[in-house]
Subunit: 367 residues, 2 copies
DNA sequence: TCCCAACTTGAATCCATAC
DNA sequence: CGTATGGATTCAAGTTGGG
C-alpha cells in the first residue's frame, strides 16, 4: 500500500475524549482514514443458562448484562459486520486493528474480518495466570482468550516495533502466546459502592504490550467498546492520542476519572517492563505423553524393595496403591511424604536411575 | 441427550484400517451415529496466497465487491461445510470432534462448526516449544495452533476424563493451553529416501492427550485427514479402535507400516482411571437398613455447628428441617445445595468422620 | 509491624439420573 | 417429555483481620 497524505488532520478528530453513543454511528461520523490503530473488545455473546456455583456454594457473578445479549448467530454476525466495516473506513491504509474474544465469538469475528478484506497478521493468545477454574469438572479450564491482529489489507505496511517486543521478552522474539494475569486488586476499577465498575475490565499490561507493539508515540488509538477505559489510560501513559466510544454513561464517568489520574511517561527509558520468564513445571504425565516412558513400564524404588507400573494418565499402580508418583512412593513406605522423582527409578544399562533424570532431559528439550 | 442404542454395531465398521479416497464420500458410506470421536487436521487454505494479488495492483478498498477473494473463501467454506456435515452424521449423539488449524483457516472452521449445530466445549491452544522463528521481524512468532473441541449438539453428554487430565497435570485441572514440542527427530516419519514423509505430521503427545481426554478404551476414533497416521498410532497404543481416511497412496503406505509397529497397552487398569461419578449409587437409607447407623443416631456437621437425627426411613430431622441428608445439609446452612455425604459426620474415636466413610465401607462389602 | 489463616473473586456456553 | 433430586466439583491472587 502506497504512502498517502493523511485523509484528515489531527485537528478534525475528537482526540483524548470519550464519545457517548452507538459506536457504529460514532465511527461513521469520523473522517475516513484517520486512525492508526483500533483496539476492540466487543461483546462476546456468551450464552449462559442457569446459575453457576463454586464448590463452596458461592455464586459466580457472571456477565449477564443486556449489552451481551443477541438473539442468534445471525444477529451477532450482522452487528459484527456493521462495526467492522465502520472501523475499516476510519482506519488509515497502514493502520491495524486488534479484536479480542473467546471461543463464543472469536471464530465469527475472525471469519468476518477476512470476509471484509482485513489481512491477518497474527492471532495472539492471552494466557491467564489466574483464570477461573472449571467448577464442575466437565471441560478444560478456560484459561485463555484470543486476539486477532489485522492490517487493513494485504498490501498494507503495518507498524510493528520488533525491537521493543524483543526487548520486552528477554531479547527473544515475542511469541504469539502471552502470559499475563487477569485484572484484579487495585487496578480493578470500583464504583462508588465498591463493586466492580465493569464486568470485563482488561489488564493494563495487555494494552501496554499491544500499543507498544503496533503504534508510535503520537499515533491515534481508537476503542469502539471503551468500557472502563483501559485503552485510553494506557495510550495516555505511553504518549499516544486516544478516542473512546461508549454507550453507558456510568462507564464513561468511571473511565474519565480513571484516565484523568494517569501520568504520561515522558522518559522513554521508563517504558521497559521486562516480563518474567516462566519456568515450566514438568508433570510426570508428560513423560508418558512424550514417549519417554511407555504405559506399563515398571518402576523400581531406589532401594529395589518396591515396584510400581506406569499408567497412561501419569499415575502409578502398585500392589495396593494407585496415585501420583509421590503418593504411591509414600504409601508403599508407609511414609507421610515422598519425592517420587528421586524415589522411583528405571533400569538403564543395568543401573537404577531416578526418573528425575528423564525430567531433566525433558526440561532441556523445552529450554 | 439420552443414551440410545447404538445405530450400528462395531462389526459394520472398517475398524483399524485406512480407507483410500475422498473423505466426504468415505464418511457418507459409513453408518450414521457410529463414531465416538473424530480428530481432524484439515488442509489450510493455502491457495489463497497467490490469488489475492490483484492484476491491476489496485488497493483492496470497498469490500463488498471484492468477489475474487470472496470466491476463494467461499470455496474453502464449501469444502469445510461438506466434510463437517458428513462428520456430524456419522458421529454418535454423545460423540465429540476435534479440529486443529491456524489463523489461516481456524476462524472459518469455527464459525462453520457453530452454524452446523456443533456445540463448542473448549478451544485449546497448542503452544509449541520450538516454533519456526519469524525471519522478517514483521510479526510475532507464530508459536501456537488452535484446536476446537465440540460435541454434536448442545444437549450431548460428552465424554471427558477429568481425573485422567488432572492426573496428567500434577493434580491440577488441565488448562486450555498445552505446551508441547513439534514433531521432530525419530518420531518424524521418513520416506524411503529419508525425506520427511508428511509436511504437517502432528506429535503423538498431542494425540495422546486428546484421546485420553475424550474417549474410553474400545471407543472408535476416526480421522478424515489421516496423513502419516498419528491418530491411528496413538489410538492403537491406547486401546482404542480407529479408522483413517486418506487420498494419498504414499501416505497410506507410510501410515500402515508405522501403525503395524505400535505395541498396544493391553492391561485395562493402565488405561482407565475410575472416577467417583461412575461409582454405583448407594442410597443413604441402606446404611440404616444394613445396621451401619441406628435410627436416632445424631449426626454433626463437619464444622460442628449443626446436628441432625437419623430417622428409620433414611431421612434426617434437625430443629427446623426434615428431608434427605443433602436437603437438610443445605437447609441448615441456607446454602443452595450440599453434598450430605461430605457434610454430615459421626463420632468415631473422638473424631468427626464424614458419613461418606460408611458409604465406602458398604461399597467395599458389595464389591 | 509482621505473619498466617481465612475469606473473596474472576467474560462460564460447567450434571446425571430416576420417575 | 418435564420435573425433582442426589451429589460431584476449584486455582491463583488479592484482601482482611486477628494474634
Amino acid at each position: 500500500m502506497k504512502t498517502k497524505p493523511p485523509k484528515s488532520d489531527l485537528k478534525s478528530l475528537p482526540l483524548d475524549s470519550i464519545l457517548r453513543g452507538d459506536c457504529i454511528a460514532a465511527m461513521n461520523a469520523l473522517p475516513e482514514g484517520s486512525i492508526d490503530m483500533i483496539f476492540a473488545d466487543p461483546p462476546y455473546n456468551l450464552q449462559l443458562e442457569g446459575e453457576l456455583h463454586r464448590p463452596n456454594n458461592t455464586k459466580v457473578d457472571a456477565v449477564d448484562d443486556d449489552w451481551d445479549k443477541f438473539a442468534d448467530f445471525a444477529t451477532y454476525d450482522g452487528f459484527t459486520e456493521a462495526w467492522l466495516k465502520a472501523a475499516r473506513r476510519i482506519l488509515k491504509d497502514d493502520g491495524t486493528i486488534w479484536v479480542i474474544g473467546s471461543y463464543h465469538n472469536i471464530f465469527r469475528v475472525g471469519a468476518k474480518l477476512q470476509d471484509l478484506g482485513y489481512w491477518m497478521l497474527n492471532d495472539v493468545v492471552w494466557r491467564k495466570t489466574n483464570p477461573m477454574p472449571n467448577f464442575r469438572g466437565r471441560r478444560f479450564t478456560n484459561a485463555h482468550e484470543t486476539m486477532i491482529w489485522c492490517s487493513k489489507s494485504k498490501d498494507s505496511r503495518h507498524q510493528f516495533n520488533y525491537e521493543s517486543m524483543k526487548a520486552l521478552n528477554d531479547d527473544l522474539q515475542m511469541r504469539s502466546d502471552w502470559l499475563l494475569p487477569i485484572c484484579t486488586g487495585n487496578e480493578r476499577i470500583k464504583d462508588e459502592k465498591g463493586n466492580k465498575g465493569h464486568p470485563t475490565q482488561k489488564p493494563e499490561a495487555l494494552l501496554h504490550r499491544i500499543i507498544m507493539a503496533s503504534t508510535k508515540p503520537g499515533d491515534v488509538v481508537l476503542d469502539p467498546f471503551f468500557g472502563s477505559g483501559t485503552t485510553g489510560a494506557v495510550a495516555k501513559r505511553l504518549g499516544r492520542r486516544w478516542i473512546g466510544l461508549e454507550r453507558d454513561e456510568t462507564y464513561i464517568g468511571l473511565a474519565k476519572k480513571r484516565i484523568a489520574a494517569v501520568q504520561p511517561v515522558t522518559d522513554p527509558s521508563l517504558l521497559h517492563t521486562p516480563s518474567k520468564r516462566e519456568e515450566p513445571r514438568i508433570p510426570f504425565g508428560w513423560l508418558i505423553e512424550r514417549g519417554l516412558l511407555p504405559p506399563g513400564e515398571v518402576l523400581h524404588s531406589l532401594n529395589g524393595r518396591w515396584t510400581a507400573k506406569v499408567r497412561a494418565d501419569g499415575t502409578l499402580i502398585s500392589a495396593d496403591h494407585r496415585g501420583s508418583i509421590h503418593q504411591v512412593g509414600a504409601a508403599v513406605q508407609g511414609a507421610p511424604a515422598c519425592n517420587g522423582w528421586q524415589f522411583w527409578c528405571i533400569q538403564r544399562e543395568g543401573q537404577l536411575v531416578p526418573i528425575d533424570y528423564l525430567r531433566q532431559q525433558l526440561r532441556a528439550e523445552m529450554h
